[in-house]
């Protein structure tokens, strides 16, 4: 007997599954507790539940139709970009789809990369983890007021309509990939997309209560530290898995990712110390800098050298710091209640990183090798290929327009059937009104009722007066 077919390489398969799991840990618990700790105490449960639910929705949609839309055969809808903008939907739940060799028809079958050495289920799970984290990232824009039901529908529709197109255009061998636009690991497909969609969604859903905006203090910084840590180290799988083999480029991508992140974190802390309004280093500033570094190196991880990674981290951190501290103060920006500033730390950072690929991509950074031993690699403006910068800008424009427009349309349609923003009565109480749960309930304040109650004292019954005042506040 043999354990697996000859096309399978256990090292590559193992690394890919580990990388996929690392990316999954960035969402659950990473983003769930990072955002759960950053929001006001009264919204921690709602935030974490939205994260866990979105993660689940995307996986089910992913195997039923979305993976094929993102990485399947192209759906020819017209000339130009429409010829290869999205894949034909289809399931991947059959035995052949799970056990057979992984394949992206326009990429791995077209000789642009070596044949995969792991099964389709590995590829599907790895890419699912990316599809799942994207809605979780823009959750940070709409927390503290979005209706839970509307969130579920939004994630389902956004993921199928918007994400699949992003992924197909750049990773599934779609039009922008054919033109030569580069996104190593999701600077555009994920982060620019999350920043854009989050900002538009925040505008359409509407702001939090004015009082909540004014007093938006985090409830648990140690929890933020845990979430941020999951993100950083989880990113080793995020960027380390995207060459699809446990090879030299994966190793370089991991080192570059950590390097850019360290530089960006330090740059943000130093900016806070010497240029910030308070002239003091802050932990949440450091976390912002860390995220900016991770996001900005994402589109570039294995395309640039270590020097390039340092520059990417530094430039992105300075630009996003300015965006966060200066641009955010402008009227049109502050009118939109992007609760956790996703448009800066993910949108601007992803855009900057993607454009810097067009400058710093170094042909010496071999991604794959040809049979004759020559390297398969890419180069940017500083290495004699100025067109790359134009391609990066074009792809970014496509993502911004498509994601912004469709987020608007999807939310307007959902808004016809479900209210996007919870009523003010719910917003005033938060988790307690939306879920009958609190992140930090008080033992003293609760009296058990119903079947599970201890038989001491009379069971509290709802008085007629309270039944009359049953307002829609109980609606999530």
């Amino acid at each position: 007997m043999i354990p697996y077919p000859s096309w399978l390489n256990s090292g590559d398969n193992t690394w890919q599954l580990v990388a996929a799991t690392l990316v999954g840990l960035m969402s659950i618990p990473g983003i769930a507790i990072l955002y759960g700790g950053l929001v006001q105490r009264k919204w921690a449960v709602n935030t974490m539940l939205m994260a866990f639910s979105a993660f689940s929705i995307v996986l089910v949609a992913w195997v039923l139709y979305e993976f094929k839309m993102s990485f399947g055969s192209p759906l020819h809808m017209g000339p130009g970009i429409l010829r290869a903008a999205v894949g034909k939907p289809g399931t991947i739940t059959g035995a052949k789809a799970e056990i057979g060799q992984a394949n992206i028809p326009l990429v791995s079958g077209a000789g642009l990369m070596p044949a995969f050495r792991f099964p389709q289920s590995t590829l599907a799970y790895f890419q699912f983890a990316f599809a799942a984290i994207t809605p979780l990232l823009f959750l940070g824009s709409v927390i503290g007021r979005m209706n839970f039901r509307a969130w579920l529908l939004f994630v389902l529709l956004w993921s199928g309509i918007v994400y699949s197109v992003n992924a197909f255009l750049l990773w599934g061998g779609g039009w922008w990939a054919q033109m030569g636009a580069l996104d190593y690991s999701g600077g555009y497909v994920i982060h620019l997309a999350a920043g854009t969609s989050g900002f538009v969604a925040a505008a359409v859903v509407g702001p939090r209560l004015a009082r909540d905006r004014a007093r938006a203090v985090p409830n648990n910084l140690p929890l933020v530290a845990c979430g941020a840590g999951f993100l950083w180290l989880g990113w080793n799988g995020f960027n380390g898995g995207d060459m699809y083999f446990g090879g030299q480029n994966a190793a370089a991508a991991v080192l570059n990712t950590n390097l850019a992140t360290a530089v960006a974190l330090l740059a943000w802390v130093l900016l806070d110390m010497f240029a910030g309004a308070q002239r003091k280093p802050t932990f949440l500033g450091a976390v912002n800098g860390m995220i900016v570094g991770l996001v900005s190196i994402t589109p570039a991880a294995g395309f640039v050298t270590g020097t390039g990674a340092i520059l990417v981290g530094l430039i992105a951190s300075v630009l996003v710091w300015l965006s966060w501290n200066k641009l955010a103060k402008l009227k049109f920006m502050s009118r939109v209640d992007d609760a956790l500033g996703v448009v800066h730390t993910h949108g601007v950072a992803g855009l900057v990183g993607g454009l810097l690929v067009g400058l710093f991509a170094d042909p010496a950074m071999a991604i794959y090798y040809n049979k004759d031993g020559s390297a398969v690699s890419v180069s940017g403006l500083f290495h004699g290929h100025p067109k790359q910068l134009a391609l990066q800008a074009g792809a970014a424009g496509t993502i911004i327009v498509w994601d912004g427009l469709m987020t608007f349309v999807i939310l307007k349609v959902i808004g016809l059937f479900v209210r996007l923003r919870s009523p003010d009565e719910v917003l005033e109480l938060g988790d307690l009104a939306a879920h009958d749960e609190e992140a930090y309930p008080s033992e003293e304040g609760l009296a058990a009722v119903g079947a599970g109650a201890a038989s001491t004292g009379p069971p509290p019954t709802e008085s007629p007066a309270s039944a009359k005042s049953a307002e829609p506040a109980a609606e999530p």
Partner: protein, 113 residues
């Protein structure tokens, strides 16, 4: 001198504090306490459910404010609190105060206010 104590739902505290600041009342001690659900929004019976066990909320976090004033000011302060907290509810009560000492300056009585 009078001790004025107000227990307010957290949502109503800010307006009251703002109003008192406008009035020029500097000395105010604030603590978080547990109180029966207060006010319009909190007053609706609420339940929490953990692992299938349903519990009625008997006590909620509330804000307690303690202010010591002269006899003359007390009436105004109570009036201001009553008006400012009108939208959210709560309770306010007044007690007589024997003496007050400002420790740093050793001032006593109304001079210490």
């Amino acid at each position: 001198m009078k001790l004025i104590t107000a227990v307010l739902p957290t949502a109503g505290f800010e307006q009251v504090q703002q109003a008192l600041r406008t009035l020029g009342i500097p000395g105010i001690t604030v603590s978080t306490v547990m109180a029966p659900p207060l006010g319009r929004v909190q007053g609706t019976p609420r339940f929490e459910v953990y692992r299938g066990v349903r519990r009625q909320i008997a006590l909620r976090p509330a804000v307690r404010m303690d202010i010591v004033t002269t006899d003359l000011d007390a009436v105004d302060v109570v009036q201001v609190i009553t008006v400012a907290a009108g939208g959210t509810g709560g309770a306010v009560w007044v007690l007589p105060v024997d003496t007050i000492v400002r420790i740093r300056t050793k001032e006593r009585g109304e001079a210490a206010l």
